[in-house]
Amino acid sequence: MGYTEEELAEDLKNQEYKFGFTTNIESDKAPKGLNEDIIRFISAKKNEPEWLLEYRLNAYKVWTNMVEPDWAHIKYEKPDFQDITYYSAPKQNKKYESWDDVEPEMKETMKKLGISMEEQQRLTGTAVDFVMDSVSVATSFKSKLKELGIIFMSFSEAVQEHPDLVQKYLGTVVPTSDNFYAALNSAVFTDGSFCYIPKGVRCPMELSTYFRINESGTGQFERTLVVADEGAYVSYLEGCTAPQRDENQLHAAVVELIALDDAEIKYSTVQNWYPGDKDGKGGIFNFVTKRGMCHTNSKISWTQVETGSAVTWKYPSCILKGDNSVGEFYSVAVTNNYQMADTGTKMVHLGKNTKSTIISKGISSGHSHNSYRGLVQIHKNAENARNFSQCDSLLMTDTSGAHTYPYIECKNPTAKIEHEATTSKIGEDQIFYCLQRGISEEKAISLIVNGYAKEVLNKLPMEFAVEAQKLLAISLENSVG
């Protein structure tokens, strides 16, 4: 595990930092419910400038006039928005008293993922000791980033330290009125991450939320803003392969990426929130708005491995505004038991010679439903736009469902668009072949599924790829129909 040490170090830092933070604002909680006062309260607690409060209030106004959408192919009980606590002091809730309290299944899963003991303890919040020398590693990372002028900090910090940058870019890609959950997020987001890569800088390491200060307790309304200035490059990792439990059922995050001229952003996500139990009880609702803006000659690449959450509803998109810009979307979505996923992408071609690639692999098992929903839109002036989409679905059981809803809109005669989708069962002859050679059925399925998803897994940064492979296998355990 290449990152373990750094994380631990960072965690140590977090703790120090948090002490300072919590004493400042005196840990308290907003009452349940949502109204303008709550928003003022959040804003005041975070010591936000006036414009941000205005931004939030405006978003709230927009949100109150919106209706929760129901077009997605998912069923869930709509959350009661007045029954949510929108602000609680950022303190780490101890989920387990000691390592012995952690559920055996959870331990088992982490063991299978190959997560080191220290990290296992950290993830479950039971770690007590930290290896001292790892602090220096983290510090060296920090100093290196600083040397290059890279800003990477929590959103709240960025609001205080770089308000001009935040104000300049916040809401430019996902406007407050974009959709129901984006509006809600804009009104009540509590924290998240902010990243700025200056002109011409190539970020030397994968930026991960692991490294970030004050990561824990960012809450259910996370806001991420990544800006790559002209000619910059950054690879950003989000999430974690280890199973994550959270008492907040609703997660409505907003991620905005901005790639200025000649810049490149690679954004990878591994999402493994608690998916609910075998009967579909519990589990996280993951309603995320992710979108990137590509300027001239820039490139944004989304890679996601989605295995968790009871309900997933997300469409990482690219707006290819600049000429010669490139958008990519690689996704593996696995659903098991009673999980529901409605995920896909939007590629909006506005500039000339823009290119987009969509590779989506869905795997449905148990009683789950897995949908791909995508939009490829070629606008009038997008000369020579090019799109290739491939959406494959693999069905493991006869009670699961796989659905494809691509929208293809073309207004330019020089565009070339190809869309292809297939749905099929896992190959019995392939399983047979493996069985014949002494490979157990479970292993065979894992082998086949990994082969099937390889195209996407290959796009993940090294650190993630290995774990993601194991994660796929674990998510599909006992799933042969």
Binding site: W71, G401, E409, I417
Partner: protein, 418 residues
């Protein structure tokens, strides 16, 4: 919404009238209209097709005469039925009696069979208007084990401005019987008129039905059709939809495959120009196992025209061993043309092979270069390429006479050379 506001649908049908002693199903349809509204582009199914151009007008239903002789397909030895503005024109029709084959024009299809078979299909507001106010239609029934000797050619003519033609047909092909129907749609001086057609049919156990629909109206009228079919066990059903005319055309095709071992083939061609909008919606619902459906739609979109393709395939739970294929190809020829495609797959069974493919692009430049290098003009090279592109679909029409007729239409309308 409920109160005070005037109902647009009722306004729309204001000038239409039907007899007072309506059979129950029509009376029900008429009553249901009061609670309906026309779809807007916010309705998913009508996302790309704005129907206000059609619905803002008040149409009248007028009996008229028009010469149908020009619309007969010379080489096709067929029974012919002519409908002018939705009314049956017996004088121009010719039906040869055959035992076991009933072809008649009826106003009311108050038949138990008919009502039972298709009551599960959702009605849209246009098909409901049709149900309440249709003025004529063909009723075809082919008895058990009878193979219809001749195909039936139904000629629809709309004439006069601001006219609505509500035509409704029903084709019932009983067990192991065979039938073929050609529907052609034409218009004469029918600017701003509206042809609202419903074609329904049932293909019985081991029966076969072929339908060829050729939409050849002038570019100044509206056309909305709803085609509902149900297939029983071992049934074979082919439908070809060729759309060349009409200002705003919507072909809504729903096929319920309600039996095992069925074979369903859907082909479509749309060539649009000027300000046309052609919307093809197809829906294949696989309710039973072991079926094959194969769909191919291709279109060439020119000038300021728009094409919409929405192909939906649902494989229901336990409908195993389904093979469902769908292909949609589009060529854009002009700067102002637009294509919106939405192929959809909803699969609830695991042992299936389903795929769809959709492309939007241009004619192959290398191909055109090759032809031009051999002395062809730019235009004829392009035409040849278009023909080859569309030809793939036409070749799937399993009737050479009809194929020929389609090519003749291309010649007439687009100056294609053969």
């Amino acid at each position: 919404m409920e109160i005070a506001q005037e109902n647009k649908v009722l306004q729309f049908v204001e000038n239409l009238s039907v007899g007072s002693d309506l059979p129950t199903y029509r009376a029900m349809a008429k009553d249901a209209l009061a609670g309906m509204d026309f779809p807007t582009t916010r309705v998913e199914d009508w996302k790309y097709t704005r129907v206000t151009r059609i619905t803002k007008q008040n149409y009248k239903s007028v009996e008229a005469t028009a010469d149908a002789s020009a619309y007969r397909i010379p080489a096709l030895n067929a029974n012919v039925m002519v409908f002018v503005n939705g009314f049956y024109d017996a004088a121009q029709s010719s039906i040869e009696a055959q035992e076991g084959v009933t072809i008649s024009a009826v106003a009311d299809m108050d038949l138990e069979d008919y009502l039972d078979k298709l009551d599960s299909i959702d009605e849209n507001v246009f098909s409901l208007i049709n149900k309440a106010y249709y003025t004529g239609g063909a009723f075809v029934r082919v008895e058990k084990k009878v193979v219809a000797a001749k195909p039936l050619h139904i000629i629809h003519i709309t004439t006069g401005e601001g006219v609505i033609a509500n035509t409704r047909h029903f084709i019932d092909v009983d067990q192991s019987a065979e039938m073929e129907v050609v529907c052609t749609h034409h218009s004469v001086n029918a600017a701003e008129s509206f042809s609202n057609v419903v074609l329904e049919g049932s293909v019985g156990v081991n029966a076969g039905l072929k339908v060829h629909k050729l939409q050849l109206e002038e570019l100044d009228m509206f056309h909305i059709s709803t085609e509902n079919f149900i297939q029983e066990k071992d049934a074979r059903f082919d439908i070809n939809t060729i759309t060349l005319g009409g200002l705003l055309v919507r072909n809504g095709l729903n096929i319920l495959v309600d039996g095992e071992n069925c074979d369903t083939m859907l082909n479509g061609v749309y060539l649009t120009k000027e300000k046309q909008l052609v919307d093809n919606h197809t829906f294949v619902d696989h309710l039973q196992a072991h079926c094959v459906s194969d769909e191919m739609y291709k279109g060439v979109v020119d000038d300021k025209s728009k094409a919409v393709f929405n192909g939906k395939v649902i494989v229901r739970e336990d409908s195993q061993k389904i093979e469902a294929f769908q292909a949609n190809g589009n060529v854009l020829l002009s700067r102002d043309a637009e294509v919106n495609a939405k192929p959809e797959l909803e699969i609830y069974a695991d042992d299936v092979k389903c795929s769809h493919g959709c492309t939007i692009g241009q004619l192959d430049e290398d191909g055109i270069f090759y032809l031009r290098a051999r002395g062809l003009g730019k235009k004829s090279a392009e035409q040849l390429m278009t023909q080859a592109f569309i030809g793939e679909v036409i070749e799937r029409v399993k009737n050479e006479t009809v194929q020929d007729y389609i090519y003749t239409q291309f010649e007439e309308r687009f100056g294609w050379v053969r």
